[in-house]
Symmetry: C2
């Protein structure tokens, strides 16, 4: 069984955006326990019609794929629970749920590398959203332009197929 | 406690690619039980150096963001466990783990809408891969060109920022 450390410790003292970290992986992991599948979801003001279409992971999250508006560059992937999606839709500022810290974070709040939301699209089976943004500065907390800089070797590459598109 | 229904029922009878479904959401959900965080991971031949960098969901998965090679179009998001990533890297055919069916699926195996892998990049914190592909036909099992056709209303749009890029 998981331990009984306090939950949601990062949620009660937010005022504005400044106190919310935007580089959740840079600090030590939280000691708050992970939610388990039997836990009730965190409360959210998300439109129930949208919430009903989400198909979440065991810990209540959907994948948020973030793409730079106008260029197609995929910048990062982060996680949203219902409330993070609600805040993203209603503030126009990309807001995520940190799995390691168990708290919300607004991209750019501490780094200045803001993400101004242009569009949010849900996928066909409700487990991912595609967020297009105006990205200020580096999208990755490492300082890289995007988070996908670690290329893995594809050893089974197939020669170009005859495509029907 | 979860029930004790058999696991991995879809793994033992693959021969080639034809028997593997590629539209995992079209059928009824499996009755196989979901893995819980205490379960051992499914066995995989994935390079241990890559496996060590993955930061998986509670059910052992990373998000696979799939982008069309050359255009930037984000086609879909699916899930990979270690073995699905291994198969993707070593066969050059995009291979995923179906959460609903609890089995592997090779995109295009039944639909003909193949994904020939051009590159796979891991993100900075190991919880997502970006897969660029040559997509044959429609990427979405609905017949749509991509899965992200359900636009959600962004009510808090901020006017264009002064950008520093």
């Amino acid at each position: 069984m998981p331990d009984a450390a306090p939950r949601r410790s990062g949620r009660t003292e937010q005022s504005g955006t400044v106190s919310v970290p935007d580089e959740p992986e840079a600090g030590p992991p939280t000691t708050a326990r992970r939610p388990t599948p039997g836990d009730p979801p965190r409360r959210s003001a998300l439109d129930p019609a949208v919430a009903a279409r989400l198909r979440r992971t065991a810990d209540g999250l959907v994948a948020a794929v973030v793409q730079r508006h106008g260029t197609g560059e995929v910048l990062m992937m982060a996680w949203m629970d219902d409330e993070a999606l609600h805040r993203t839709l209603t503030t126009g500022r990309a807001t995520y749920w940190s799995r390691s810290r168990q708290e919300y974070w607004v991209k750019g709040a501490t780094s200045g590398h803001h993400q101004y939301v242009r569009s949010v699209r849900l996928d066909c089976d409700g487990d991912a959203v595609l967020v297009t943004v105006e990205q200020v500065g580096a999208a990755c907390h490492t300082g890289a332009g995007n988070c996908f800089f670690d290329e893995l070797p594809v050893t089974g590459t197939i020669t170009d197929p005859q495509e029907d598109r």
